[in-house]
């Protein structure tokens, strides 16, 4: 599924031919099909994630906290959907509900057509946490191999996959190092390799680059976009950076706190699948950022 070649600079990658899968996926994302290509079938593909009237209320000491209130959302296969909003808007909670790390208190949620718990039990998704969450007593290669060990993948295949995915995130030379010997950006890449190595179709990312400086973050954003284009994965991505959300996504979901809810969904597919970092200075990009910002303001996000 994944391109086995080494990924070069993002610019190089964008110039290369994409594998067939990702071209199909990219097509599915563009609402008006290009005239020289056959139109997509009229039947919409089954959503990867579907939420209807989703609620999650914590019983706090004084008053109940509405972490999520009446969230409706459908994510199609191959989409890259970002969730943005101030802290307390429920974006991480929503992601954790999809991952079955939290239980919604109301509404319906399906992941790949089944309940979130069933999806977790059959290991439908890879999760990238806010922190790299590498086990300090394991080397990088053994950290990446962790899910494979748990899934009972035979040793030879484990070794082959670990090598392939470490290569993909450009950490081949660091397989035998322990996490503390790597920089923060390298640890982030290792955690992404760990989430990818069992080839889940759905990738859930909870502010994976939140703790990194902007230079490293730009770099990893470009790599992530290249990775997403090279594979056919559906990505749900939580962030609090407007440019990051617009740059990466096909759609940006703008959320607002108290209660946590969706105030706007901004379609960014118009930026196209090929996005050099410079696209962030284009008028279209700035217009989309402006719209996200307005959404945040409309949701009283700035009152917080």
């Amino acid at each position: 599924m994944l391109a086995r070649r080494r990924i070069g600079t993002p610019r190089d990658l964008l110039g290369n031919d994409q594998p067939a899968m990702s071209r199909a996926a990219a097509l599915a994302l563009k609402p008006p099909p290009e005239p020289d290509r056959p139109a997509l079938p009229a039947v919409a593909p089954r959503p990867v994630v579907s939420a209807r009237g989703l609620c999650l209320t914590y019983e706090a000491a004084d008053a109940p906290v509405h972490a999520l209130a009446d969230v409706d959302l459908a994510v199609a296969p191959g989409e890259f959907v970002s969730f943005i909003g101030p802290s307390g808007c429920g974006k991480t909670t929503l992601l954790r509900c999809v991952a079955d790390l939290e239980r919604p208190t109301g509404g319906q949620l399906t992941v790949n057509g089944v309940s979130a718990e069933a999806a977790r039990l059959r290991r439908d998704y890879g999760f990238v946490f806010q922190a790299p969450a590498l086990y300090p007593w394991r080397t990088i290669e053994r950290n990446v191999a962790l899910p494979l060990e748990i899934f009972g993948v035979p040793r030879a295949e484990r070794r082959e996959r670990v090598a392939r995915y470490l290569d993909l995130v450009q950490l081949s030379g660091f397989a035998k190092k322990f996490p503390w010997q790597l920089s923060g950006g390298m640890q982030s890449r290792a955690s992404i390799a760990r989430a990818l190595c069992f080839d889940p179709k759905l990738l859930l990312m909870d502010e994976p680059f939140g703790a990194l400086d902007e230079i490293v973050r730009d770099h990893l954003n470009a790599q992530l976009l290249a990775l997403w284009r090279a594979t056919a994965k559906t990505v749900l991505f939580v962030t609090h950076s407007i440019p990051e959300a617009v740059y990466l996504s096909t759609r940006v979901v703008v959320m607002s706190p108290r209660p946590g809810r969706i105030v706007d969904i901004v379609d960014c597919a118009g930026l196209g699948p090929e996005r050099p970092l410079e696209i962030r200075e284009s008028p279209e990009f700035l217009r989309l950022c402006q719209r996200v910002r307005e959404g945040l303001r409309a949701g009283h996000a700035y009152d917080a």
Partner: protein
């Protein structure tokens, strides 16, 4: 993609010995020897004076002082007497002889090791059960705590009599008493250690739908190792105390406890002190052995744990 920052240079595993560490160590040893000698001088003074009088010699201060260092049954033996006794006990006899300190130390050590094994395994097993089953904690923990409030000196004869009636004599009853003293710190330490993993590390296992045994083997156990070794160091020292206490009331023929008892029966204070020194050395060696195992284990599982925050 370009490779980012090169990996950090590996931190030296061991800090070089600071210059002049010999001086403080030697000072402390010297201070102890001086204090000990003074104590012997004062405690033995009247006994030495009496002995001189009985021998018909003049009780001059200089003579008394010299005599305090060489009494056959001193109240407090002088350092060189104890050292000589230990030397004789270790090198003066074949190690199979009943007069050899090595023989007695080995008898005690073997019971200690067996007790350590039983106590550690029991302590770890209890901790694993407590961490996984809330009902075990509620039902067992009060009894575990209560068991440690009973004086071991009161329990030891009961255990020895009871096990003796069941046909167990020799090594096992002593090991059981030692285990009784040592499982508690292991249980307490390991309950803490097995619960130590961060929420994010536990969440990761949950996203993999990992089973409880998988979580135990791959997350809880490795995360608990620093706690385990801290507990084991306390446990191994407690173990030796437990074994020696177990040797006291049984009229045991061998072991450091038996040496202590025989020494006190016959007023052989030098022999008592020699046995105490042997016990102290044994205890230090056992704690050191656990420390070496700790360093080796933690070094094999990622550098910073092995170099930081210990000692």
């Amino acid at each position: 993609m370009t490779p980012e920052a090169a990996p950090l240079p590996s931190v030296p595993r061991r800090r070089p010995a600071e210059p002049g560490w010999l001086l403080p160590v030697a000072s402390v040893v010297l201070a102890i020897l001086v204090a000990w000698t003074l104590a012997a001088l004062l405690a033995n003074w009247s006994g030495a004076a009496d002995a001189l009088v009985r021998a018909g010699e003049a009780p001059e201060a200089g003579r008394i002082a010299a005599a305090t260092m060489a009494l056959e049954r001193p109240v407090v033996p002088a350092p060189h007497q104890v050292i000589a006794e230990v030397w004789r006990g270790v090198f003066g006899f074949p190690i199979t002889s009943k007069r050899s300190l090595v023989y007695h130390a080995w008898v005690t050590l073997s019971a200690t090791m067996l007790g350590f094994a039983i106590g550690s395994v029991l302590g770890i097993a209890l901790a694993v059960a407590i961490v996984h089953l809330r009902s075990v904690e509620a039902s067992l923990m009060p009894w575990i705590v209560a068991s440690q409030t009973v004086p071991i000196l009161a329990v030891a004869p009961i255990v020895i009599v009871a096990l003796g009636a069941a046909g167990f004599t020799g090594l096992l009853p002593k090991a059981v008493i030692a285990a009784y003293l040592c499982f508690f710190p292991v249980t307490v330490g390991m309950v803490k250690g097995l619960s130590a993993p961060d929420a994010i590390h536990r969440d990761l296992m949950r996203t993999y739908s990992a089973s409880k045994p998988q979580i135990l083997a791959r997350l809880r156990w490795p995360a608990s190792l620093p706690y385990l070794f801290a507990s084991l160091k306390i446990a191994v020292a407690a173990n030796l105390v437990g074994t020696i206490v177990a040797e006291l009331p049984t009229g045991a023929q061998a072991g450091l406890g038996a040496r202590l008892l025989a020494g006190s029966y016959y007023g052989q204070t030098i022999q008592i002190w020699a046995a105490l020194v042997a016990a102290a050395v044994l205890s230090a060696l056992l704690v050191r052995a656990v420390g070496l195992a700790e360093t080796a284990t933690l070094r094999a599982s990622g550098g910073p744990l092995a170099t930081g925050g210990r000692r």
